[in-house]
Symmetry: C2
Subunit: 276 residues, 2 copies
């Protein structure tokens, strides 16, 4: 693992690191914010999964999350959204290929050799991080934005007991029924839709739900509402009697101006779930 | 004036606008954050001047200032740092030409026709803004980062009575004695150093000071300390018995991770000066 940069930030350190990844067959970059308390021992961890076109850098620079992570004395992890670099397949569209891994393990050509973001985010990166940094594996939460909200929700529901809480900003809620999902799942996972179902939050909510609190914020002026399909997940949460909060935020759009506005709430929500 | 974008943010609106500028002889872009209170009447204004290589966008996206502007119910103005576009002179160096206006009116070729950021920021843009938006001209404060800290301090000291308070993050403190200053002033203002003096915060502090509170934060791990020369301004403030606070922040560097860390303090400082 190589240190790209480390900047003092809200009493802690915002680091960026690269490492060779088995899962994706190339170098991966991630951001890690360690609060001051990490100098004295392991701290809880909040994962932040980013959306389409993003790298590890966007949320790290624009979401304003470190302020609240420092207050709660929790770490923040900002993984990249796909493999990158020479020999890694890509597509001219912004919503397929590099920057658009969709947090799945691709089985189809040309994506299968590198696009294994599910394994990367749920297995390889956690193992690396918990070995290398003072992070408390038993105190994790996860959140994400847009495609990253989809990732956070599907991962949280697929690993019962791993995360104390899950939250999302404008998540892709029902990808098997949306052009943000059908297109990518067909490319990465093939035509058999049975392989898609484990990566659809609405279907997972109907089937099993999440054994902890959920917080979701969605702007009413989001330019991608038709693709995100919040109504599907909201209905599924209510039908299941899933404990959680689904907030439609009047006037907000899909941008980081929306994410940063409600970051304080999300971090307080996760801190409460972690510390009880 | 044309609206580029408007995003709901912390209950208010983060806007970006362009307009034809007489001062710089071309189109200029700026960011304006209006808090919710602006719906009901004029609100106080905090100017944020950016540093080398920045546009109106950097601080708007990365400084986290809107959170605290919303709390204090003040507006934020994010001007660009230079003229841009076709026919505007430039230089291959990052610290001269476009993105590096240094908040002066150039008198020398090839810069004189467009590089008039002093007039733009102190006359044209204020007139435009106070006519077009619900902003309280009698309740202004100003701050900036690096080259923008230089701009904020020199402007605040040059217009007594206009600003209630001034603050800076890692400002260029003594440009007439630094390679961040001597090079640019020679290019923009010519070889007669008498023309440089009105644009040096340390010299202005020795000569007249500021009739209000000053807050300056400087990281001890700043990679540009030798160019910024905080010791010169700090000494000048103390020698003059200027009311103010000069903080050396241990471990922090020159980045927006530093700026965002102390933004809450700066906004609270300006709010106190504005509201009393």
């Amino acid at each position: 693992m190589k240190t790209v940069s480390e900047n003092r930030c809200f009493g802690g350190v915002q680091g960026v690191y690269t490492h060779a990844s088995q899962a994706t067959g190339g170098d991966m970059t991630f951001g890690l914010y360690l609060p001051e308390a990490a100098e004295d021992g392991a701290v809880p961890v909040v994962w932040y999964l980013s959306g389409l076109t993003c790298t590890h850098e966007n949320a790290m620079a624009k979401a304003g999350a470190q302020r609240w992570a420092a207050e709660a004395q929790v770490a923040l992890i900002f993984p990249d959204t796909s493999p990158r670099g020479e020999g890694v397949a890509n597509d001219p569209a912004f919503d397929l290929g590099q920057g658009a891994g969709f947090y799945v393990n691709a089985t189809e050509a040309p994506w299968a050799p590198h696009f294994r973001m599910w394994d990367y985010v749920t297995e390889e990166l956690p193992t690396l991080l918990f070995n290398a940094f003072p992070l408390a594996e038993e105190a994790q939460a996860i959140m994400g934005h847009s495609m990253g909200g989809h990732g956070a929700l599907t991962i949280a529901m697929s690993f019962p007991g791993r995360f104390k809480s899950v939250s999302a900003f404008a998540p892709i809620c029902h990808p098997t029924a949306s052009d943000w999902g059908r297109k990518q799942f067909a490319a990465y996972l093939g035509k058999d839709e049975a392989a898609w179902a484990p990566h659809d939050s609405t279907l997972l909510m109907r089937k099993r739900g999440f054994d902890g609190p959920i917080l979701i914020d969605q702007g009413t002026q989001d330019q991608f509402l038709d693709l995100l399909m919040p109504e599907a997940l909201s209905e599924a949460m209510a039908s299941r009697r899933q404990g959680g909060i689904f907030r439609m935020q009047k006037g907000y759009d899909h941008s980081y101006f929306f994410v940063s506005t409600f970051m304080e709430d999300h971090m307080a929500f996760h801190a409460k779930a972690i510390y009880g």
